[in-house]
Amino acid sequence: MTVSRFRTIVYIAAAIVSLAGLADATYLSVQALTGETLGCGGSPDCFRVLGSAYARIKGIPVAFFGVLAYFSAFTFATFAAFGYARARTFLVPTVVAMFLATIWFLYVQAFLLHAYCRYCLFSAAVTFLLTGLVIALPPGRSRSVS
């Protein structure tokens, strides 16, 4: 397998993994919009996490930022798979930012809230997988689409 082909496969895998994260973040955003996270009724642990002050930034649910992040990762990975050289330049910092945010949210769940929401843990797993894929990318420039 050539390096170029391997790189394309990694980008396609990253795009597919991002879609899973996008679906998860979209679900959490809808939960925030319907107010499910403001009251009791669902999973108690998810309520403790999603209803906490850490689940919003200036009133905006962090799930919205998750949607933006996963959609950006999907977009950059898709364009990179099609040979757009600059897409990788954007993909790497996006995934790094998502990785750092995930570490923060895991810390909040483990040490500040003492509760885990399964949707957040799924999102963390997706981001770790994305990070692994980005690390697995061989160094060098993507081929450019003329």
Partner: protein
């Protein structure tokens, strides 16, 4: 064509995300119905609901609450402020809606109703919310409920009998059935003059705005 394919894929995913999000929102949004006359008399009102404030107030705020639910506890603090602000213009009705996910919620609701049988429902309501964090995690919440009963001046023997009796339990169950018939699934669920509070109004400013609108409507009619 290949040049444009990534644009098409990204656009399709964006549309699919928005579409599925919108469908999910429609499916998951609250389906609580307004309280109609038949729903106010079907169950639990044989002895009247628990009312605090002016019985003839132009605005009624009805809450379906769970004593072990943390947002209900926070709301109870806010409710105290609102009651002071609106004074005789607002009356508050409380209905039990203990959720199965909360271990001691039903027992707490029964304790409140048992206190209600001695005319001290609201005193127990207040102490249960104030001490929520303590009894929610206690291995034997019942002992704490009995100590609260003593604190608010109840006849303890009678309170214990009422906790075991059917009357308090029946009231709790009747409130819950009434809530279920209105489509309630979460707590706190609020109604202002029988209309369910919309999601956008589920905050202090929103609640005040809806109360003010109800007052204005009342003064015009």
């Amino acid at each position: 064509m290949k040049r444009y394919l990534p644009f098409v894929i990204v656009a399709l995913v964006a549309l699919a995300t928005l579409g599925s999000g919108a469908m999910l929102y429609r499916a998951k949004r609250s389906h609580v119905t307004p309280i109609t006359e038949d729903k106010t008399t079907v169950v639990s009102d044989a002895e009247g609901p628990h009312i605090r404030g002016n019985p003839d107030a132009p605005v009624t705020l009805e809450e379906y609450g769970d004593f072990q639910c943390p947002p209900c506890g926070k709301f109870a603090v806010f409710l105290g402020q609102v009651e002071k602000e609106y004074d005789s213009r607002l009356r508050v009705v409380f209905r039990n809606f203990p959720l199965k996910m909360h271990e001691h919620a039903r027992e707490a609701a029964i304790a409140a109703e048992a206190a209600g049988l001695q005319g001290r429902f609201w005193e127990m309501h207040d102490v249960l919310y104030r001490e929520q964090e303590t009894w929610s995690t206690a291995p034997n919440a019942r002992e704490l409920f009995e100590s609260y009963a003593g604190t608010i001046g109840l006849d303890l023997d009678q309170f214990r009998k009422d906790m075991e009796g059917e009357k308090a339990k029946e009231r709790v169950d009747a409130d819950r059935h009434r809530g279920e018939s209105l489509g309630i699934e979460t707590t706190p669920t609020l109604f202002i003059n029988n209309q369910p509070l919309e999601q956008k109004d589920r905050n202090p400013e929103g609640i005040r705005a809806v109360i003010n609108a109800a007052l204005q409507k009342n003064s015009q009619s």
